[in-house]
Each structure stands twice: as C-alpha cells, then as structure tokens.
Symmetry: D2
Subunit: 320 residues, 4 copies
C-alpha cells in the first residue's frame, strides 16, 4: 500500500481537524496507508511522522486549532533539510502528501516537489481568506462567527452607554473578515485595505446621525489598515463621543468549527485525495462559483488574491 | 414615493430579521417608502400594516425568529379576503410586496398577483431547504449549527457512557438538515427520505464495529422518514446497545442568525428590491452555483425540490 | 508514596473532567501517587486502572462528559467482584479512593468500605441536584445554561408564531432543573413533583391572559411529573392554542462546563483530598450555606433530598 | 398607589435587564405603581421617566446590557440638579427608588436621600465584583463565562502553535475576574493586584516546565496590575517564547445573562422591593455566605472591598 502523509502548516484555522480526519478516513477507503506529520514542516524534517491510528482522529471533528500542531520552519529553506525530509518519507514508504495551510506552506511543498518529485495536494486553510483562485479557505466561517458574537455583545454595551466601539479584526492585508463582519453586524463604519476611506465625509455623516439621535457607533477596522488607534482617537476628538478599542486577537482563530467549515473540510479532503489518485502532482483545492475543483500551484504563486467584489461593493458606503 | 411592503410568512427561520432590516434600508435608498406587514397574510387581510420606522428595524439583526411575526392564514384562500388585502394596500399607496418565506407563501402571493397585479419578490426562507431552484434558503445555516452544538454535546455523553443516541431532525420531506448534520458531526448512521436504507446491512456493519471496540453510535434521523422510534428500538433489540431518542424540535428554528444567514439575507434583499425596481413582477430569489439570481414563481410551483446530490452521495454509506 | 485512585461513576455530568484534573494535580502536591480508574465500577473490578500521566489530564478542563467514562455495574453487588476490586487496588498500592458521582455510587463505595476498609471521599456530581446535605452537585449549572439557551431559542419561535411550547427537562424525581429554568427564562407555567398543580386554576389564568393579548406560552415540565404529553394536549384542547412538545433529553448532560462548575470542581476536589489526608474514611463533599464542607455517607444514605425551598416558593405561582 | 421608580446606573452588566423586569413585576404584585427612569441619573434630572408598561419589560430577560441604558452624570453632584430630580419624582407620585449599579451610584442616591429623604434600595451590579459586604454582584457570572469561552478558544490556538498568550481581563482594582478565570481555564500564570508576583521565581518555574516539554503558556493579567504589556515582553525576552497579547475589553460586559445572573437578579429584586416595603430607607442588597440579605449604605461607603480569600489562596501558586 502506498503511503500518504497529511500535515497542517502555517497559522492554525478552525476546520483543520475535520480535514485531517476526512483525509485519513477517505484516503484509507481509496487504498492508501495514511500517515500523520506533527508540527508541520518541522516534523517533516525531524521525522515526527507516524501511521494514523483510529485514536489519532477520533473525537477531533469538533475541536478548534489543529491536533497535528503547526509551525513556521525556516530550516525548510535549506536543501539539506529538505533532503532529510525526503529521506524520512522514503524510509516510511510515503509517496504523496496533503498539506492543509496557506500559500506559504504550498510554496514550500512546491519547492520540495521541484527537488524530489513528491506529489502533493493543498487544502486552503487560513482565516485571512486570501488565497488566489478560491472563494473560500477553511476557518473563515468559524472566525466570522466568533467575531459576530463579540460584536453582538459589544453592541449591547455600546447601546447601554452611548459610546463608540472600534473593533480590530485579523486578516493581514485582506479586509474580507472585517467587511463581512461589518455587514453581518450592521456596523456603521468599516475600514479595509481594499477601500479608500474618507474621514472628512465620515465626519459629516456621523455628525448628522448624532444630531438625529444616534448615540453609539460600531466601527470594524481591518488590521491591514493599521488605523484602529487613529480611528478611536478620531471618534473621541472629532465626534466628541467616548470611544473604546477592542483588539479581538487570536480569539478569532479558535473555537469549534462551524458546520460550514466542517462540510468544506469534507469536500476539500475528498478532492485532495482524488487529485492525487488521478495522478495530479501539485494542485491546490478550490471552491469557486459554488463548485469544488483544483488549480495548479503555479496559478496560486503567480496571482494576487482578489477580495470578493460583491462584498467590497456593499461595504463602500461604510468608509465614506 | 411608491410604497413597498415587507412581510414574513409561513414557518419562521433565522435570517428573517436581517432580511427585513436590509429590505427596509435598501429599498429606502432606492426611493421606495417601506411598510411592514405584521403576522404575515393575517396582517395583510386585517390591515396590520404601518410605515417602517427606524425603531422597527433597529437592533433586530441578531435576533432569531421574526419580529414581524408570521402565521398560516387559510382565509387568504377566499377571494373576498384577498380583495380586502388589496384595498388595504391601495389605501396606503403600496404597489409592491416582498415576502420572506416558503413555497406556500409564494403561491399565495402568486394568486394575489393573478387577481390584482401587485408585483412581488420572494425571498426563500425555510430551514427545510426544499425550495426548487435555489441551493440555499435563509435559516438553514443557523439550524445546522444549532443541531451541531446539540450533537457535539450528546457525543460527550454517549462516549462517556457506552450508549447509542438517535437524534431526530426537522426538514419535513427533505433530508438536507439530517444529512449535513450527520457529515458535520461524524455520525455513524443517517436515515433520510432521499436514500434507501438497509437495516440488515447496517446490522452487520455495527456488529463488526462493536466487536472491534465501538461503544457508542450517533444516528441522525430525518423526521420525514418517521423512523426515529423504530431505529431506537432496533439498536436496543438488534444490537443490544442501550439507546436514547432526542427530538430536537423547535430548538432548531431559533437562535441568533449565523454570519452566513445574515450575509445571504443581505444579498437576497438587495436582489429582491432590484428585481422589483427592474419591473419584474413575480420572481423568487435564488442562490445557485455560487451566484445570486431570480427565477419566476412558475418554475418554483411546477418543480420538485432536488436535494444536493453531492451531499446525498457522501451520505449513502451511512444508511447501509 | 501512597496510591490514591480517582473514578467517575453513574450518570455523567459536566464538571467531572475538571474534578478529575484537580484531584490528580492537588493530590500529587500532597504526596499521593494518583491513579485513574476507567469506566467506573467496571474498571475497578476488571483492573482497568493506571497511574495518572500528565497527558491523561491535559486539555480536559473544558470538555463535557467524563474522559474516564462511566458505567452502571451490577456485578459490584456481588462480594466476589468486590474482592477482585480490592485485590486490584492492593496490588497497585492504592489505599484511598475518590469517587465523582451520585448517591448510588457513594452507596457502592460505602459497602466496599464495610468489606475492606478502603477509605473514600465522594464528590457530588449529578444534574438532578438531588443529593441530601449539599446545595450543589457538579453539572447543574452547565445543564441549566444548556436548557436556558434552548428555551431562549424556542421563545423566539414561539413569539413569532403564536404557539405554546412545552419543554420537558431531566431531573428524575427532583424538579430543581425545571424550576430554575422556569424562573431564568420567564416561563408562564412550571410543573414539578414538589408543587401541587391545578389545571383548572391555570386554565382561568391563561384564558384571561389570552383575552388580554397573550399569544404564546412557555411551559417547563419536569420529567418526574410525567405530565409533558398531557400538558401539550391540554393546551391544545382546553386553551385552543397550537402547542408543541420538545424533549431536550441528553443534550442537557453535555456541553463544556461553565465557570461555576469548574470552580465548584476545584473546591470539591481540594476538600476531597484534604478529607482523606485528615484520615476521614467515608465523607461526601458538601456546599451548604455558601461554605464547603463534608458530611458522613450515612447522612446521605439516611436522608431524603430536599429541594431549595426559596426556589419552590418563587415557582408556586407558575403551577396555579 | 405609591410610585416606585427603577433605574440602572454606572457601568452596564449582564443581569441588569432581568433585575429590571423582576423589580417591575414583583413591585406591582406588592401594590406599587412601577416607573422606569432612562439613562440613569441623567434621566432622573431630565425627567426621562415613565410608568412601566408590559411592553417595556417583555422579552428583555435574555438581553445583555441594560434596556434602560445608563450614564455617568456629573451634574448630579450639584444640588440644583438633585432638586430638579426631586421635583420630577414628586410630580409623578414616586416615593421610592431602586437603583441597579455600583458603589458610585449608591453613593449618589445616598446623598439624594440626605437631601430629600427619598428611600432607596440598591442592587449590586458590576462585573468588577468589588462592592463591600456582598460576595456577588450581578454580571460577574456572565463576564466569567464570556472570558472562559475566549480563553478556551485561545488555548486551541496556543496549543497548535507553541506560543504564549497573555489575556488582560477587566475588573479595575479587583482581581476577582482574573483569578477565577485563571482557575477555570487552568492558566499557568495569573497577575492580580491582591497577590505579590515574583518574575524571577516564575522564570525558574517556566524554564523548568519548558525543559520538560511545555510548549505554550496562558497568562491571565488583571487590568488593575497594568502589567499586560510587560508580561508579554517578558515572556518573549526572558523565556524566549513567542507571545501575544489579547485585551478582551468590553466583550466581557456583554452577552445574554447566564442562569446564575438571572436567578441572582430575581432574588435581589425581591429583596429590594421587600426592603422598601418594610420601611428601610437606604439598604444595599447582599448575598453573603449563601444567604440573601441587606446592609446599610453606610457600611458600603465606609468599607473596602475584600476579595474572596479562598480564591486568592488557590491562585497564589500562579504568581510565583
């Protein structure tokens, strides 16, 4: 039986555990012998690899984070360490890899393929939702619902006390989390890298609203704009409303995966195993226009992420 | 200004409140004067209709159920009551309707259009997810996540005590909720109207699993099969495992809408107002292949709902 | 080092896992060598006992159910099996026991003490909250909050649709869960074994309320009354309001322990280890009048549980 | 009928809404005519006071924050504004007040009593849990459970990625929230104003743990210590572990009240109305040693809050 190893790599995201479980279960039904690599690239280099047991993947479906753990591992940039990794796989009879992570991890495996021709399949998993060519990455729906609960909570207190709240969301250079959260929570203001913002015009809008009786403001600010502190001060100084900043931080990464993240994990896992079965060598799974598919890693590497334009359009009125 | 009235009708579903809010806000930006009808068709007949105020739709985004309330109203089958409804609208200057509900409600508005030519737009909202022509109806994602939390909870206790649990889910004749819940929770058994089940073969499968150490079973049974009681007894009698039945009931309808239901509500509402603006007269909103669109009510009326075949395929192994 | 073994027994309850972890950690700081018994009395008889490792109790604080698993084990009634249990403990150097469970489990350990003089400490854990001499048992707060979320959800839908909901709660012969849930959710009706109910007078009350505009009813019914079906029919037939029954079932047992259950677990565990250290031989932990203490098992065995009278008093108006 | 007015004042806390509802309902059964004051002291001065209707308190039991809204109102320090407040009450026939809030609000009402002899009853409500003479203030249990969910989430991601997380909790000068959260989440470090901390000894402890395999640290730091930033840097610099700071902020104030906060609200409200009925003039409700009671405002004003010493004792090992 051919060995197939599964790893999680890069920043953790909800949905990684269901994907690990589905990859193990489905690959086994297709005749593979599934292995698990611990700690991402570190375990690949240091041979922290073992055959997947029933216990390894039992009761993990509903757990946040990744039971395989993850790492950022600069040693993989060096050929001698990649050689070690290859030797580890060879010794265990592993001929194929599935990596659950982001574009950095996919790039590393691409280099590894160039060196040693180990085919791999990539499952996109990052709460930033910034991988080119797919509308969806694992972890996004869970992160959005964690943010929603926080913002709903804060709205209770904002409304009780006539106060503005600025909430900084994750997402690196991508404003997706911030924009969808702003829509879903009915925020009055949203600042993201994708949209030009105009404080002067916002000042006019809010001063009018306040004159009409508005007594609180919820502002969602993407970390990629680096504007959270400024916005908080601006509300105080320019609008004369008491304002507080909440930085949700890593709370956004955690939590039990939502149904959507579990179901996406299922579909991506089936597609990843099928891609390797079909002899594809370096494909990344995609969900595009409602359909699951694959795209070559080169497309991912050579493209820029494009944020969903229908969401951008709906949010424009929140930045002016 | 042209009056546009919004109502919720039929069984309630999470996401109705965000849809009401978005329809009011967006229609106003497009030059309509929005009205709200209370209690669905009952309010339409009895003139329980008022212009939407800011307070009506403030702070409702995160609330379950429908603040407009709903009803099943057989009086609407009688022409004289539809005449009353028409007179009410005319007196208030309302020339267009948006109805948020299921196929029964759409059919009623279709008859009303045939009688009095009041154009309407329908937003699909039912946890059964059984409206032809759309992959998604409001309320489904929230219902799925409510079920997920219950099943995750029950799994804790099943695992602690070596016991089978049969969980009956809603969905009328459609097994969608049951199937997705079974996938998302890693259930061992799933019975739905769409898939033939074979207790003899399941008996073999489970007896082998039990011999291999399995000490609990989670079975998800759609109410449409009417098999929940039988399955519970069968597990006790035929597998010799203690088994308990949980009927989740209306818990599934409630809860604060998930982000997905809020975002879908946003898109459907924009599409509904745009459809009326464009002069369409009796369209139902759709989400199909990842794209928002509309379809004529006649298609809905003359088609049968088709459950997502990719989900059916993944679940077949849970019924044999 | 003296061996001390920890087990969970009887019906599972949230808070058992934090208690297991605290007993292991705290007993170790006091010089014991902690052991874990799997599957309750079954593991005690069958020698499913091992020294507690760091991994055993790592990451279990927030998990529902019991990772040690539980059982009802009639074999323990037979002396020869208790002899086996004793031999197992002796061989491992275990001289003391902590049992986390209900009165049935405490009684079994009491018999075991009579036979072989193995001192034990009992930590009350049952969602029924029916152990004499303590105001609180582990699992109750978590169960109450699970019920609360369900009832809050159902209220959304009840209010949307002019309908009564009857919700049956667990608790065996004790109405505590039902009563506190009724208060916490503002239910209109509550039937428990502790309070005489009067349907005639309730009929008058509700008919007046309905005439005054009431359009839904939430009724909480304790399983110990066996009145859930009757109440549902009565509301339909006698009040003429559509009514639905939800049986929450084992959902109530599960879920991540609340802070209260975790903190109570902490205090009970410290008290249990301290009780054994002090040379006490068969004490049950208590929380009474805001203070942690212990009581002899004989008091538990010879008393009847008394439901909190201040709660009973507040609920009387919901049964007439 | 004698008028009794209810207000919420100071920082908002979960449980205020159930308390408002219970005060209205229970005072009515005792023959009072209940009034509601909006925006705390501001509404008292500006006559934003109206008789409580059924709609005012319907469906508020499960809502976070306070539907009456709150404020900090320095104008109340001036006698002329207190005179206005008195005139408002007199004109409406209001002879008694219930204030739900913290010690600042109680002090204001005490001054008002000295001026105009309007008896009042105070219900302690603050997530800081720092009101002398009572073990419990409304909002604490909800805040603790919000923090618990966040910390459980963060632990998933900490464990996945070998990283330390510093979580700053609210509580002003009181470390109660931080300490209970640290116990409930099994944190490895906890810094509060009540306990002297020793970084040198913590350094030794953690270096040993890390050598033994520990790969993440959860540190809970009370805002009253002002040590969150320092701790984050210290972990990076002194322990060489990547560390992130999460400031939970006002998320902690919000959320649907837990069962404990709802039940406490019930008891406090009954006690407050009973206190006024019994002719007491300036009592604050208490929960002490498991019993509900009252204490004169002078005791609150002249005492310092004492944090629960059993909790302090359990947490000492987390600061060294």
């Amino acid at each position: 039986m051919e060995g197939l190893a599964i790893m999680t790599s890069g920043g953790d995201a909800a949905g990684m555990n269901p994907a690990v479980k589905c990859c193990v279960d489905y690959s086994r039904t297709k005749g593979f012998k599934p292995f698990l690599i611990r700690d991402g690239l570190r375990g690949l280099i240091d041979n922290d690899i073992s055959e997947a047991t029933k216990e390894d993947v039992s009761g993990i479906m509903h757990r946040g984070g990744t039971v395989l753990r993850s790492s950022r591992e600069p040693r993989f940039y060096e050929l001698e360490n990649r050689q070690k990794a290859y030797d580890n796989l060879k010794a265990l009879g592993i001929t194929k890899l599935i990596v659950i992570g982001g574009d950095g991890s996919f790039g590393a495996l691409n280099q590894f393929y160039a060196d040693f021709q180990i085919p791999f399949a990539g499952i996109p998993a990052t709460i930033d939702n910034d991988i080119p060519g797919t509308d969806y990455c694992l972890g996004v729906d869970t992160a959005l619902n964690v943010i929603r609960e926080s913002v709903d909570s804060i709205r209770d207190t904002a409304n009780s006390f006539s106060r503005a709240f600025v909430i900084e969301t994750m997402g690196r250079h991508c404003g997706y989390l911030a924009m969808v959260s702003a829509l879903a929570s009915g925020a009055e203001m949203c600042l993201v890298p994708e949209i030009e913002y105009d404080f002067e015009s916002m000042g006019k809008r809010f001063r009018k609203d306040i004159a009409d009786g508005r007594n609180y403001i919820i502002a969602i600010v993407a970390e990629g704009t680096n504007m959270a502190d400024y916005t908080t001060r601006w509300i105080k100084d320019s609008l004369g409303m008491d304002a507080r900043l909440t930085t949700l931080g890593h709370v956004q990464r955690g939590g039990s995966p939502t149904v959507r993240d579990r179901v996406m994990a299922y579909h991506f896992s089936v597609a990843a195993v099928d891609s390797l079965l079909a002899g594809q060598t370096k494909e990344i799974m995609t969900f595009k226009g409602g359909t699951y598919g694959t795209q070559p890693i080169d497309v991912v590497v050579n493209s820029k992420p494009v944020t969903d334009q229908s969401i951008v359009k709906l949010c424009k009125c929140l930045s002016v």
